[in-house]
């Protein structure tokens, strides 16, 4: 699946770069929304079709919240370490990491603080979504289902949810949506906090 995903992604990039007029850009947004809505409906059908899903989720219980929480803490610590290595203020690294793949929001919050950091956050979160799309099948197979959810970050509730669902099971699909939702709500809370700590 990973190879197919990379091939389709590259074909898309080349098509967008060489073949399409800039005026087509808004149409891609509409197509993306429609495709995403249909996919989410199908993911729902998959979840509902497995009658044991919610029974199993009950067994996991409140511990499910630990998936987004540990993914968030892990990512932020990683961002701070990288910042230290690149001799940047550690909270700049934390702010970049706390975008969780939501590339349209975090850069907007960071922009008034620094244009350069805002661009780093934008590109980092774009890369995160691409790498998540490519590596979710691999991580799900070799490491674990919840680790694949962590890879999706905030996008586990929309763009990467169908990929997680195809490569895991319906319980993980529900965990992924909840995890993505939690991380999505954390972005507008955490990024401003880290920026304010920078003074």
């Amino acid at each position: 699946m990973t190879v197919k995903i990379i091939a389709v992604l590259i074909a898309g990039v080349l098509t967008g770069f060489f073949l399409l007029e800039p005026s087509f850009y808004p149409t891609t947004g509409t197509l993306l929304d429609i495709g995403l809505c249909l996919l989410l409906f199908f993911v729902g059908i998959d979840i509902g079709n497995n009658k044991k899903t919610f029974q199993h989720l009950k067994q996991l219980g409140f511990k499910i919240i630990l998936v987004p929480v540990s993914a968030a803490i892990g990512g932020i610590i990683g961002g701070m370490i990288i910042a230290a290595i690149l001799s940047m203020p550690v909270f700049e690294g934390a702010a970049v990491a706390a975008g969780f793949g939501w590339y349209s929001l975090a850069p907007l919050i960071i922009a008034p603080y620094s244009a350069e950091l805002s661009t780093i956050a934008f590109l980092t979160n774009v890369f995160k979504e691409i790498l998540a799309i490519i590596f979710i099948p691999f991580v799900a197979k070799k490491i674990g289902f919840f680790e694949a959810v962590a890879l999706g970050g905030a996008t586990a509730m929309d763009t990467t949810l169908p990929i997680i669902t195809r490569n895991t099971n319906s319980e993980t699909a529900v965990v992924a949506f909840l995890s993505g939702l939690t991380m999505t709500f954390l972005v507008p809370v955490l990024v401003p906090i880290f920026i304010s700590l920078l003074g």
Partner: protein, 99 residues
């Protein structure tokens, strides 16, 4: 953003309720997998198109591409590692067993 969260939730719950209640035809259920794959690849293709058309991304890659790449790989790795540790301690591979 808030609106799309609600919309996604409604679509997921609608799909789940319909199939839980047995209102999705068996022929349709059999096709859900391949339909998902079709729309999934369409989605990835469109996301690729948007990246290819986005001059902002291309310009930024030249400027700070390396830093962003290091942040991406670093934060994804620690994020996955943190969930791995928590999973080992609390779930012990439970998520696979229940499938």
């Amino acid at each position: 953003m808030f609106n799309s969260v609600i919309l996604y939730l409604i679509l997921l719950v609608a799909g789940a309720l319909l199939s839980y209640r047995g209102l999705i035809h068996i022929k349709m259920l059999k096709r859900v997998g391949s339909l998902q794959m079709f729309f999934l690849y369409m989605l990835i293709f469109i996301m690729g198109i948007r990246l290819g058309m986005n001059k902002e991304v291309l310009k930024a890659i030249g400027d700070i591409g390396f830093k962003a790449a290091v942040f991406t790989v670093g934060t994804l790795a620690t994020s996955v590692a943190a969930v791995y540790v928590v999973s080992q301690l609390l779930f012990k591979g439970q998520e696979r067993k229940i499938s």
